[in-house]
Amino acid sequence: MRFLKSTSALVLSMAATLGGPVGAVEKQDGQFWMVIGGRQPVSHVDPGQSYDYAVRMMTQSLYDGLVKYTGDPPVVEPWLATDWTTSDDGLVWTFNLAPEAMFNNGDPVTAEAVAYSYRRVLDMNEGVSWMLSDVLNGDNIQALDEHTVEFTLDRPYAPFLSFLPWWFVVNPAQVEAHVVDGDFGKAWMSENAAGSGPFTLERFDQGTAYWLKRNADYWKGFPYEADDMGGIIYRLIRETSSQRAALIAGEADMVTDLTPEELEIVGARDNIDVSSTPALTSFGLKMNTQGQHMSDINLRKAVAYAFDYDTFIQVYNGNATLQTSSFTDAVQGKVDIDMPRKDLEKAREYLAKSQWPDGGLTLEYVYVQGLEQQRQMGLALLNSLRELNIELEMVPLTWPNMVARSSDVNQSPDLMAIFTTPVSTDPDAVAIQYHPSSQGKYYASHFLEDAELINMIEQARKLSDWDERAPIYAEIQQRIVDLQPEIFGMMRQRMFAYQTYVKGYEDSPIRMTSEVDFYPLYIQP
C-alpha cells in the first residue's frame, strides 16, 4: 500500500506539473452544487448512533443543536437556544429556544422536541451518550413551556455546555412514526433525516456520494446571499492521489485528505486555494506507565529528552506545531509549560537514574499500519534511542488491533503513536484522558494513575466558576508534563484544498482532521 501511495504521488506530480484541463464550475438546473471529495463513507445520518467525522459532517448539516462551535479559537455560540442560565450550584441549566426555529417539514422546534432528542440518545446509550450519561438522567429534562427547556444534572459538571454542540434535536413526530420493534427509529434514521438543519437529505448513495440540498427557507438563514447555491455533494474519493486528480480536473470543488506534499503542488495552481490551520488534535507517543519498562519515570524522561522533536514538524512539511503544554493550543485555560526537547545530556542523566543505567533494553513502538508519517517518527525515535544504547522494535498494527492492545494494561506497548481529538474545548476533555476512568480507551494506553492528578481533575470538573478552575488546570498541565506519560508531540494542521470559486470556508480547530462545516460554504464563480 505504501508503494501504491508513493507511486500515486509520483504519477500525479507529473500530472500536476504538466498541467491538464481545468474544470469550470457549472450550474445544474440553475443551481450550483458543490462537490466535496473525502475518504470516509457515511455509515448513517442518525445523530443518536455512533459517530466519526463523516457522520458528524452530515448530522450537523441536517440537524441543529442548542448551541454550536464556531471560529478560531472555538466558541460555543447560541443556535436553537437563544440564551441560557445556570443555577448558583451549577446543577440546573435552563435554555430558551428561538421561537422561529422550524423543522424542515414545517413543524416547530419545541422544548418537548429537545427533551425527546436528549432522552432518545441517553436511552439508546450509543454515540454521544457517553458525554453526559454520568451526570444527566433523562427524567431530569423538563420542558417548562413551549420554548424553555431545563436540565437538572446529578452533580455539578462544568464541561456540560461544551458537549452540547454534538447533541442534535430531532423531530419526535417523524422519528416516532418510524419506530420498529422499539428500535428508536434507528433503521429509518440511518438514511433519512428528521431535523431542522440548513440542509435536507436529497440522496444517500452508499459507497458513492451523499447529497445535501440547501434548505433555502432555513429558519436561521445563511451567512451569504448566493441564492443559486443548490447544495453540497459529499463524494467518496478514497485515494489521496485521486482526490488531487479530481480537484485538478474540476470534478471536485474541495478535497479533504491531501498529503502535505500534494497540497504544496496543487496550491501552486492559480485556480486552487489551500487552507492550513492549527487543529485541536494532538499527536503523542503514549508510554505505558504500568508496563515493565515505562513504569520507570526516569526511563520515560530519558526517552523524552532523547527524541528529536524536529521530526514531528519535518514529516508534515512544516504543517505542524510542537505542543507547548500537555493541552493543545485551542483548549481553554492552556498555559505554556517548559516542555522536554532534545537534550542528550539530560537524557543520559535520567537514564543513569533508571533501572537501566547503561541502556541495553529493547522498547516496543506500535503505530498504525500504512501511516507513513508514523513510521518515519518511529525511525527518528529508533535513531535517537540508539544514542542511549536502547533498541526499538517497530510494530505496525491495524487500528482494531491497536485499540485492543491499548485497552489492556498488560498488552499496552512501551510506546504507541496516537492522535487524539477532544470533542470539546473544555480543559476537562483533555485532563480526563489522564484519569483512570479513561483506561480502556485508545488514548489512555499510558494507564497513568497519579493520586494528586486524579484529585485535581475531579475537583476542577465540579466547579462552575472559571476563575476557580483556571489555576487548577494550569497545575494539571504541569503535573501531566512532569509525569511524562507520553512524548508530547505536535498539533497537525487541518489542511484543505479548494477551487478559488469556493467561498465562505471557515475553520475551527474543534473539528476532526478532515471534517468541514458545510453551512457557510457557497460557490461564486
Binding site: T7, A15, P41, S43, H44, Y51, S190, G207, A249, E251
Partner: protein
C-alpha cells in the same frame, strides 16, 4: 450429467461449510474487541458491555457459530459491527458493481487474448510473436494499480477522454435498478445515453483489471496452439488443401481452447476477489473495497459474507467450466 451436477452442488455445500468454519475461526481469534469498535472510541465501558451482550460477543465461539449458521439459513447476512448497516443491503449495492467490472474485464481479456495467442503461435518467432509476447510479459509484470494510475493520468487527466472514476458522472441519473449493474440496467430500461456513460466509466478500470488475465490467456493459448499446429490432423488438413483460416479457426483452435477455457474460469474467480486496487484507484464502489475495509476494521460479518459469496461464485464458475469442457470435448463427456 444431472448426477454430476447434483454431486458437485452437494460438494459445494460441504466446501462452503468448511470455508465458513475457517473464516469464522480466523476472524474471531484475531486480536481486537469488536464490541469496543462498535461502541466507538470514546464509549464508556458500560456502553461497550451493552454492545457486547446485544451482539452476542459474550457467548462462546461454537454457540456464536451455530447462531450465525442459523442466521445464514434464514438468508440474513448480519450487520456490520463498524457501520451498523445490514450486510445484505451493502452487498446488494457493491457486488453487482464488481461483477459488472469483472465481466467487462474478462470480455476484454478473451476478445483480445484468444486472437493474439493464435496470432503469436501462427507467426512464431517472427515480429508479431515478439510484439505479442512483449505485451503478455508486460501484463504479468505491470502492477495493476500502476497501469490504472497511468491510464487515469494520461487518458483522463491529460487528454480528458475518460472520466477519472466512479460508475457514472456525479450528476447523471442512475437507471432503475434491475440487476444492479448500471450498464445493463440502462440498456434494459432503453436509456442508451446512460449506458454509454456507464461504459465510458467502465473502460479504464476494466482495461487495467483485464491486463493480467489478458497476458495469461495469450500465453496459454499460444502454447496450446503451437502444440496443436504440429499435430498430424493439422498437417493432414493442410495436405488436403483446406484453407489456413479454416484450419486455425475450426480445427486447431477448437482443440487448443480447452486449457484457455480453464484459465478464463480461474481468472474470473481471481478477479472477483482481486479488484480492490483497481476499485481504489478509480473510486469504483465495488465489493473489493467493501471487503478490504471490513478486513482492516475486523468487521466479521461483512468478511464472512464476502468470503462465502466469492467462494460460492468461484465454485460455480469452475462447475460451469467443467460442464463447458464436457460440451466441447466428447472424450470428457463420455468419462462423466
Amino acid at each position: 450429467m444431472k448426477r454430476l451436477i447434483l454431486k458437485r452442488l452437494g460438494l459445494m455445500l460441504l466446501m462452503l461449510l468448511g470455508l465458513a468454519v475457517i473464516t469464522f475461526t480466523v476472524t474471531n481469534i484475531a486480536p481486537g474487541d469488536p464490541a469496543r469498535l462498535a461502541a466507538g472510541p470514546d464509549a464508556s465501558q458500560e456502553m461497550v458491555e451493552q454492545v457486547r451482550v446485544a451482539r452476542g460477543f459474550d457467548r462462546s465461539l461454537p454457540v456464536r457459530f451455530s447462531l450465525y449458521l442459523g442466521q445464514l439459513a434464514r438468508g440474513d447476512l448480519g450487520t456490520s459491527v463498524y457501520t451498523g448497516r445490514p450486510v445484505a443491503k451493502d452487498v446488494a449495492v457493491f457486488l453487482p458493481a464488481t461483477v459488472e467490472l469483472v465481466l467487462f474485464s474478462i470480455i476484454i481479456a478473451v476478445v483480445l487474448g484468444v486472437p493474439l495467442g493464435v496470432l503469436a503461435a501462427v507467426y512464431q518467432n517472427r515480429l508479431p510473436d515478439h510484439a505479442i509476447r512483449f505485451l503478455s510479459v508486460s501484463g504479468v509484470a505491470l502492477p495493476m494499480f500502476w497501469l490504472g494510475l497511468m491510464l487515469q493520468w494520461y487518458l483522463s487527466l491529460e487528454l480528458g477522454l475518460f472520466p477519472l472514476g466512479g460508475r457514472l458522472g456525479i450528476f447523471d441519473d442512475v437507471p432503475p435498478r434491475i440487476t444492479g449493474m448500471i450498464t445493463f440496467d440502462a440498456i434494459f430500461s432503453g436509456d442508451h445515453a446512460t449506458a454509454g456513460t456507464a461504459l465510458k466509466h467502465m473502460i479504464l478500470p476494466a482495461v487495467a483489471l483485464s491486463f493480467p488475465a489478458l497476458a495469461a490467456i495469450i500465453r496459454v493459448n499460444r502454447a496450446e496452439m503451437l502444440e496443436v499446429l504440429d499435430r498430424d490432423y493439422v498437417v493432414n488438413a493442410r495436405a488436403q488443401g483446406i484453407g489456413p483460416f479454416r484450419i486455425i479457426a475450426i480445427y486447431a483452435l477448437k482443440n487448443a481452447i480447452l486449457p484457455t477455457l480453464a484459465m478464463i474460469g480461474l481468472r474470473f474467480g481471481w478477479m472477483l476477489g482481486g479488484t480492490v486496487l483497481v476499485e481504489s484507484v478509480f473510486d469504483f464502489p465495488g465489493i473489493g473495497l467493501y471487503a478490504a475495509k471490513a478486513a482492516i476494521s475486523s468487521d466479521f460479518e461483512p468478511i464472512m459474507a464476502v468470503t462465502l459469496i466469492l467462494g460460492a461464485a468461484f465454485m460455480l464458475i469452475n462447475l460451469l467450466i467443467d460442464l463447458t469442457y464436457a460440451l466441447l470435448d466428447p472424450r470428457v463427456r463420455h468419462q462423466i
